[in-house]
Subunit: 491 residues, 2 copies
């Protein structure tokens, strides 16, 4: 039934695209798609991406003192994915994976020298990569981005040169361009604990861009989420005549935490809670706008985050819930995120326990929009449509956990093998190799408490065969993150 | 608005009781309440109590691989309490607290010799205690209990001698009466890890009672949840003409874990997941029955558990989610539980982050049913009605965490002080006193990661004043758990 509906949607989308092509060539005559019913309309896409938010930071994912009624509703009306992953457990490579549908090692957005791009980095996402925005433009979509980019701050690397018609946001993390002098590695972490209360937005020389122009520096970080919401809703209203793709990437709850005057002190979870609840408000406003404008029925909204909580920031960092460890690690707490899909009337409401990743959005959107995925390169994404629209199984059966350029762990089905582990955000920490690998059944033991390598050697063998095949087919890109100017104190 | 509705309900309940008193005196003429509208009817109560289920074991409380659609719906349609506590973090004292509205130290259901009642225990809950069942009988309620009692297995201590008209269930934990010989303390824990797969119900000589008669021994544990569901729905159907109180206490997911043939293997979480999902099914069947019979609109259903997960049972135990530690401890993972209130049309759907406890059910039900709480003893429960039916605040501002007969910790508002801590289920572990106490803000830091005693001495002082007052007013009952026959190996 649902699968039939899906193929109907696909056909309708194809027809829609033909109409759209016509209307694009003849804009003055008005937009033909407006006169058709919901099912005839192409699907719009909105990706809402949080920064450093953990698996356990939303009410519906178990947080006891962060109030997220809008995301709770989104999950209850849509699909709450509980095995939804990112392509890397730090900012830049995770964002590269999301936008290209490819592991960041392929695009060169992975390094063992430095984990992410910095204000002194020389490079950005290569022009040769195809982003979701570029992919959807092939089907006539309007494409907008609001928020944190972190795939290169030089003009040629900014979103408007990677397929987005519009960009409003900051080019890298909100803690970069710190103007305070730090004298030791530990000083950085202290900023977010006892001392964080005296930080102001002026302590960070972060620029705000519109297109390729800096319009404010240092940006007033306390109003960022509010402004992102306004920019997003305005852009969608202005661009609703064509199918659209909006990528909204909040730069919070990454430290430094700043909330608007209205949100300060609202959450019993403290400032971190204020920030997440303000994001929840923002999501609620976007959902309400889509409903008011009659767009909800042919728009798919996805909410997720770039990586797990940044645990060394202590009370200023989030929670991975029952998952182990967080940002920067290859434990589940680093790679697994909330993943909520919402499209009333289209998406089958349920809790989904199968695997999906941010990389799969590239392939899934392409499939729904009827755009062939590129065949000149390896795309790691798979099409999640069978789960989203019906009772089908997820084609995602394997998962690779890289730290920088090294494959640390792999999951095949319920089993995950750690070939290498490493303490994260501990100065001088070394890689520790495991032979045999550590083995966990992450469905039965989601907290990775019980190493069962001795009991299930055949599962290790199975995973190692998948790993060997993966490595044999891996054509790694160059280390594009490593080239940069004088060292920053903290990566 | 909602408060107005509440007072209307209370008035209606009062009128209902008068009608009821009349109908009770004149039963042959039929039940007058049947002919009145929903709001005129007295409120029925159903407490559904799980055993050793952790804070993090339900989908809506964050578990990624246990599928609980019925409890998720119950939480979304009702109130999901995220700071809901039990009176003790082990079975017997927790159950005493629930049923009497009093800390177990008052009733004598607390001991430093042994934590719970055993098959060789001499005593049970004293006859002088007033249970919720006895309290509601004053308002003409029918009272039924199905499931695990654990407040004394001798005839005079069983539910039918503590205010319940009906009883079907087991008198103590399902792991008691173990027929295998264990030679060391560690052997017990091994049963639930590598070796648990070869256990059968026949390894436990547990009796099933109806009233005060043993009807099956050893009981077939694999069909317990199914049978409890059938007994519960039948009893409610049979007793719907009068207001009713049903106390359904599953003996699972306490070890040993057994599921019905239909549920075996259903969950990717393994046997523990099978068991919890079967409980979720059971709750769904009870909700559906209440809806089909038109009873949902004047019935309040509460779902919670007796204490946190039993962590030493490893893969056979549950998860406290992001909360620290579990069963037997005075960390949040021991005392905080899922707490879901459901009464469509009466209860204001929301997530509640204020404090509530199982002891408050005694007082809340009494208030709703219009029965004065006893004034000849201290009742620790408070009336949660202002939160349940309106926008009021919870009167619960303080919480006391006892281990056995000793007060280990206290919470006042957001702050919790640990005066004593102790490793649990570690042979020979001693109490460790803390001066100053460890201090945590459990709203901002729900995982109790950051001891802030040095930063907030005034919060410690405030808590210690509350503790002193509490201790001054504490009239402890005798240790009724300690008296028993030959030692059991494991408590």
């Amino acid at each position: 039934m649902k699968n039939k509906k899906l193929s109907f949607i696909k056909q309708a989308l194809f027809v829609g695209m033909v109409i759209l092509t016509f209307s694009c060539n003849d804009q003055d005559k008005g937009i033909a798609v407006n006169e058709t019913s919901a099912e005839d309309k192409p699907m719009n896409f909105v990706i809402i991406f949080a920064d450093d938010m953990g698996y356990g930071d939303l009410g519906v994912y178990g947080h006891p003192t962060i109030n997220t009624p809008n995301l709770d509703r989104m999950a209850f009306e849509g699909q709450k994915w509980t095995n939804f992953y990112v392509g890397a457990s730090v900012c830049t490579p995770s964002r590269a994976a999301l936008l290209t549908g490819r592991l960041p090692l392929r695009s060169g957005m992975a390094s063992n020298v430095v984990r992410v791009l910095h204000p002194n980095s020389k490079n950005g996402l290569p022009k040769s990569e195809i982003t979701i925005a570029e992919q959807l433009k092939k089907a006539g979509y309007s494409t907008g981005m609001v928020g944190k980019w972190h795939l290169g701050h030089k003009p040629e690397s900014l979103p408007v040169n990677h397929g987005f018609d519009y960009y409003y946001g900051i080019p890298y993390s909100n803690d970069m361009d710190l103007t305070r002098k730090l004298t030791s590695y530990g000083d950085y972490w202290k900023l977010w604990t006892e001392e964080y209360k005296d930080l102001t937005p002026a302590d960070f020389n972060v620029p705000m861009y519109r297109g390729t122009e800096i319009i404010e520096r240092p940006v007033d970080q306390s109003t960022m989420t509010k402004r992102y919401t306004e920019e997003t809703t305005k852009w969608i209203r202005d661009n609703r005549e064509k199918p659209f793709f909006m990528y909204l990437a909040y730069n919070l709850p990454h430290v430094p935490l700043f909330a608007s005057d209205e949100s300060m002190g609202r959450s019993v979870r403290g400032l971190y809670g204020d920030v997440v609840e303000e994001i929840d408000d923002s999501v609620g406003q976007i959902m309400a706008m889509l409903e008011e404008e009659g767009l909800a029925e042919n728009t798919m909204v996805i909410f997720t985050s770039d990586n797990g909580p940044w645990l060394p920031t202590e009370i200023s960092g989030g929670s991975a819930g029952l998952l182990r460890n967080g940002k920067g690690s290859t434990w589940e707490g680093g790679f697994r995120e909330p993943g909520i899909f919402w499209s009333p009337g289209n998406i089958n409401p349920k809790v989904v326990m199968e695997m999906g990743t941010t990389m799969d959005l590239f392939t899934t959107f392409s499939s729904i929009a009827g755009v062939p995925v590129p065949d000149d390169r390896i795309i790691d994404g798979v099409d999640l449509s069978p789960v989203l629209f019906g009772e089908g199984k997820s084609p995602r059966k394997e998962l690779f956990y890289y730290l920088g350029r090294d494959l640390f762990a792999a999951r095949v089905g319920a089993y995950k093998a750690h070939m290498i582990t490493q303490e994260v955000y501990v100065q001088g920490a070394k890689q520790v190799s495991h032979n045999p690998p550590l083995l966990f059944n992450v469905e039965e033991d989601p907290s990775e408490r019980f190493n069962i390598a001795n009991q299930y050697p055949e599962q290790i063998q199975k995973i190692m065969r998948v790993v060997e095949l993966h490595k044999a087919n891996m054509k790694a890109g160059p280390d594009l993150l490593g080239e940069r100017g004088p060292e920053n104190l903290v990566e």
